[in-house]
């Protein structure tokens, strides 16, 4: 063992209770760091999951030539597109050619070709506006996870049944197994058997959405061919921007990532991350201050001994190193303790995706343990520089004037 290490270690073990206290202080700082990382990370997972879990990650639509011509900036363009789409839909005419291509991409988890439109749902005296989505029967749960949010019935779609939001069904006073009438905005009316009800927790779905088979939608909205849009779900939601760009470039279609309509969420996540970073920075600063003050005290108390060592031929570099190694050891031990305790404390939390409304969305995988350990060792080492320099300045002659 290098002699510097032995001396540093001996000084740390000379006053065990004080060293234990200091190391616990460091460990608490590291724990805060790990906890904040896991919480901010978990919160982001939860919010993104809540937001994008049941929506399309990339929505592919036909490029809107007219709107493009009028558009001055992106803000205006969006307004124009929205107004047009309810009145006169632009269809994906040659969509069939693209669907297998997009489906084959490795980043794509699921794809759902759709025909959509608006209409009214009628049940006795009551009526409610609905947004109708026609999907391929095996793709009902491809985008929104209706299967696990089913409150009654099943998600099975035939040409004659319909799956509704629970709230919409409540408004109409209809239950599974009963019949509702649907009138599209093209004036076409059809009866459907209510096959299933779902409650996703999103008003736009629970209160207004109705899923029918693609063929039924084609009849309702008089779209015998082509598609209104293709919804895509990805394995990694954070790749949506890049993949949307690729799809747009490859197909010439409009591909809109979920991020385009959720700028506020992304801003919120960013703000959340930076406030988390601030707290983590303060945790590190606390570690620096704690280690620096403890070592300053130690160098002050040990001035006579430092004088003895210098008289015996210890160089200034040796003395400096003795205290820097102490700082690094404190950081290492406190860091290991803090990350270990952090992991142990966070591991029992369920994954943030499954966090209930009351629980903390902790993501144990995002504890940033390695980073916490590294930064702690660096911080504690930096903190020891000033005290170690004052130790090295002790003149060997002080040994005499004891």
């Amino acid at each position: 063992m290098p002699f510097v290490l032995k001396v540093a270690f001996r000084y740390l073990t000379a006053n065990k209770s004080q060293t234990a206290l200091l190391i616990s202080g460091v460990a608490v700082g590291v724990f805060v760091f790990v906890f904040m990382s896991a919480l901010i990370g978990g919160l982001a997972v939860l919010l993104v999951q809540r937001t994008v879990g049941n929506i399309s990650h990339i929505t592919i639509e036909a490029p809107d030539a007219d709107a493009d011509a009028i558009a001055v900036d992106s803000h205006i363009r969006q307004l124009l597109v929205r107004q047009r789409s309810s009145a006169q839909r632009t269809l994906l005419r040659s969509a069939d050619a693209f669907v297998p291509l997009i489906e084959a991409m490795s980043e794509v988890k699921a794809i759902s070709p759709q025909v959509v439109g608006n209409g009214f749902m009628l049940r006795g005296e009551r009526r409610a506006a609905v947004s109708v989505t026609g999907v391929e029967p095996d793709k009902v749960t491809a985008i929104a996870d209706l299967g696990s949010r089913l409150t009654a019935g099943s998600t099975e779609l035939t040409s004659s049944n319909i799956v509704l939001g629970q709230k919409l069904a409540d408004d109409l006073g209809v239950r599974v197994g009963q019949v509702v009438r649907l009138r599209s905005d093209r004036g076409i009316e059809r009866s459907f058997l209510v096959g299933g009800l779902f409650a996703v927790g999103v008003e736009a779905l629970d209160g207004r959405a109705a899923f029918v088979s693609l063929s039924a939608a084609r009849t309702l909205f008089e779209i015998p061919q082509g598609l209104s849009r293709i919804e895509v779900k990805l394995n990694d939601v954070y790749q949506a921007d890049a993949i949307a760009r690729r799809i747009a470039a490859d197909t010439g279609l409009d591909a809109t990532p979920w991020t385009a309509n959720n700028a506020q969420l992304l801003d919120g996540l960013r703000a959340q991350a930076s406030s988390g970073n601030l707290i983590k920075a303060f945790a590190l600063i606390t570690i620096v201050i704690g280690v620096a003050s403890a070592l300053s005290l130690s160098t002050y108390r040990r001035r006579p001994e430092i004088g003895i060592m210098r008289a015996m031929g210890a160089s200034r570099g040796f003395v400096t190193l003795v205290f820097i190694v102490q700082g690094a050891l404190i950081g290492l031990i406190g860091g290991l303790l803090g990350t270990g305790l952090g992991y142990a404390a966070l591991a029992p939390f369920p994954p943030p995706e499954l966090t209930g409304s009351a629980g903390l969305p902790i993501d144990v995988r995002q504890g940033a343990y390695g980073l916490a350990l590294l930064l702690t060792v660096v911080a504690a080492t930096l903190a020891s520089i000033l005290p170690s320099r004052s130790a090295a300045r002790v003149e060997p002659v002080t040994v005499i004037s004891q």
Binding site: K6, R310, M312, F318
Partner: protein, 226 residues
């Protein structure tokens, strides 16, 4: 004296300056020390004995004058060079033992060698054990410095001073804090070891019996050797 001088100082001056106040302590000290010489440094309290020893030990620098040891001019040496030099060539015994309290007797003795080698070698440990046996402390090898009596501590300090086989041992009132018996023991030890190894000793003391044991006496008065 036929042997080559270990130490030659000439016109050594040390003046302490604190603001405008100047305290001249050494006013031109001239002396030489031969190889293997056992020399007492005498003088009234405040005459500058400790001050001279710190300069000879390279723990402090003189205000002016020349300090040559083993043929090397130490007045012009850098701090790092002096550190290395005293580790290799000078041993210290102080009035108060000055052991490191968190280390055992053995570790204290090994310390100068470990500093030189960068680690505690088995060879150094063997020599340290040998030295501790020579000062009669083989049974206290693994005691912490704080668990030893005053006389025992001083004997450990002597063993430590000899660890790196220095050419010069500087002792500042080595028996000053000991009772008569321990003082005699320590002195016997120094005399015995100085016979065996060709180490030179300069021992400051107020004690006439100590002075009498040394073959040579140097007296310091009013900042100069008289």
């Amino acid at each position: 004296m036929s042997a080559a001088p270990v130490l030659v100082v000439s016109d050594l001056v040390k003046t302490f300056r604190e603001g405008a106040v100047e305290t001249p302590v050494l006013k031109g000290v001239n002396m030489t020390l031969a190889e293997g010489e056992l020399c007492a440094l005498l003088g009234p309290s405040g005459s500058g004995k400790s001050t001279l020893l710190t300069i000879l030990g390279t723990l402090a620098r003189p205000t002016s004058g020349s300090h040559v040891m083993l043929g090397r001019d130490l007045t012009s040496a850098s701090d790092a060079e002096l550190t290395e030099f005293r580790n290799a060539h000078i041993g210290f015994v102080f009035q108060f033992h000055h052991l490191l309290p968190d280390f055992t007797a053995l570790e204290n003795v090994v310390f100068p060698a470990a500093l030189r080698d960068g680690r505690e070698t088995a060879r150094a440990r063997d020599r340290a054990r040998e030295l501790l046996a020579r000062v009669g402390l083989e049974s206290r090898v693994d005691y912490r410095a704080t668990q030893l009596s005053g006389g025992q501590k001083q004997r450990v300090a002597i063993a430590r001073a000899l660890m790196n086989r220095p050419e010069l041992v500087l002792a500042d009132e080595p028996t000053g804090s000991l009772d008569k018996d321990s003082a005699r023991q320590v002195l016997d030890l120094i005399a015995e070891i100085s016979q065996a190894e060709r180490t030179s000793y300069l021992i400051s003391t107020h004690d006439d019996t100590v002075a009498a044991r040394c073959r040579r006496q140097v007296r310091l008065d009013n900042g100069a050797v008289v």
